[in-house]
Symmetry: C2
Subunit: 395 residues, 2 copies
Amino acid sequence: MEYKFSKKLSELKPSAIREIFKSLTDPEIISFAAGNPSPESFPVEELSRISADIFARFSTAALQYSITEGYSPLREEIAKRQKAKFGIGTDGDATMVVSGGQQGIELACKAFCNEGDAVICENPSFIGALNSFRSNGARTVGVELEADGISIEGLEKALKDNPDAKLLYIIPTFQNPSGITTSLRKRRAVLELAKKYDIIILEDNPYGELRFKGEDVPTIKSMDTEGRVIYCSSFSKILSAGMRVGFVIANEKIIQKMAVAKQGEDVHTNIFFQMLCHRYMTECDLDAHISRINALYLRKCDLMLDSIDRYVPADKVTFTRPEGGLFIWGTVRDCTDVSPIVQKLIAKKVAVVPGATFNCDTSAPSSCFRLNYSTPSDEQIVEGIKRLGEVFAEL
Amino acid sequence: MEYKFSKKLSELKPSAIREIFKSLTDPEIISFAAGNPSPESFPVEELSRISADIFARFSTAALQYSITEGYSPLREEIAKRQKAKFGIGTDGDATMVVSGGQQGIELACKAFCNEGDAVICENPSFIGALNSFRSNGARTVGVELEADGISIEGLEKALKDNPDAKLLYIIPTFQNPSGITTSLRKRRAVLELAKKYDIIILEDNPYGELRFKGEDVPTIKSMDTEGRVIYCSSFSKILSAGMRVGFVIANEKIIQKMAVAKQGEDVHTNIFFQMLCHRYMTECDLDAHISRINALYLRKCDLMLDSIDRYVPADKVTFTRPEGGLFIWGTVRDCTDVSPIVQKLIAKKVAVVPGATFNCDTSAPSSCFRLNYSTPSDEQIVEGIKRLGEVFAEL
């Protein structure tokens, strides 16, 4: 039979990344297309030990229904850490556990956007968030992303042009896909503009703990005194992505609305793993663990950048040099559409993600592509970048 | 600051059940208000043993990002079991793992309903589903629930009156809150009406495995030859509610749309517990485990009904006598609003859920209340029903 799907979903396609992943079944392909943390970042031994103890002593609580806002001891630990490390949280704020940072983004959209309302985003931006907004019937409006963060002029124009914009979605630190970190000056300017045009900021910070060089730049949420910023993050990049545990910190009125929406989505987040996260945070040395992850990513990122310097013609393509996170962003000179190059890379058995995937305007081409260094092995990084260099040398 | 929440969420309140739960912090209260499975239904030892083995041998897969549709070996086991046990699944169907049955309900609404569209429901119905529809901007239209299931005349009238109805939500087996099972005749009639008015049926069957008396009635999905029925169920009542693992079986085109929406909500369901479910299904005796749960619930349900027969004046209140599931439904004679009685019960330290909680029209009163027998101890069941009888005797 013919199905009449909702307007918001009838035109939404599965993300292009998923399609690329299908081509990755070829075992000879070197993939720089993933967004996965390294499996070495999972503290398996500790999680296994704590898990056995939860089954032995707390199985009823760990396997029974729980409350929507999340396991209270975990919420408290999260609030404590985010306050200490990122200056986040005021008296009016509350913390909610969500099923991965993705759910925090989705719930924020549900809480504030009616169908047809706009969400202003950096362009390019995280495809998962863009599709989440679209699947709630919101329009995504892109603002150019510059080397030091979102264009402030572009943002003001977008705010003027879209009075129905309800959210400004921004990943200020080690942005996905670009790896760009927004400067302190621009963070302040973003908050000022949000006040001026009375819009809620949705600050997504999944990579903030993954700084392996340089100094932390204050989060926008840490400058927020009036409850204008919804802050999302997760344990995906520091403990386990597969367990789907993230969190949101925002004014308690916002958290209450998001909790009502979350109840309708999944009642609550897997409580066993919430307890596991709490026990890990209180019994193990999370900071030491994160330091080990960052040492690994520093080495892998440097290896990829060194290989780029060595093998890729600098007059044909430029790359961001991130101080953390998971991604490097390549921009091809004198190019409007990188697709044919991505196809040539696939023929050489190297997978990257074409920049158009991350565009707010899904029909717009891109001269950029995303590289990931956390997932491939050292040998794959060197060999893959060598092949990438060959493709550019032949252009 | 003042927040301008979305229309769909600005009027939605947290469920009344949550408010009742807050009054349950009093340890002297005997609660028949829960919807929880008995902790005795969690096979802790087996889950613990398999869990240790997953950490020891498959930790990378169990902690890394995974695919949205779910862990393939689990999807296959689910499809196999549902086909064998409930006659569910045709060549055109696909199975998707979701984060509890609740998410299946929510995704179905997102896939089919635009803001303002109607979802037709049994009245009363599961509050979690009603709030999920509302939080997606859909209107809930209630059709009277009779002793043998939804009123067929009422359903046809609702379909005629609401041409914008996109889904018919129905819990045909051991309905929540009423415990009522829809007769085979009415199931067939529902499917015929759905065809006549071209509406999608969302069949929710979280309690289908919990039959402790009588014979299974065929699922509506098992009669569906054209892909009109979306079937939702979960492991919450047979393995663990807290792990949040459910599933949807529907035409593959519907599953594709729901998967796109799920990707925007939580990327995928906790993969560790998906692997745990699969291993449990293939290595342990799930049927024997379910038989033990059902023997327990039969005893508890009978104990509650026997206590009712003994202590509650039959001329003042009648009760359903379910053959499975978790709930008994009381209807007070010559009563329009049960609220004052519920308050008297609270004063006697007995908690029940007032029927109005489950009404599609949130302002409508109810002469009914819900009792749960899976959570309280045997002593609590007898003592609580004795107190309930005292309250009715005093009326």
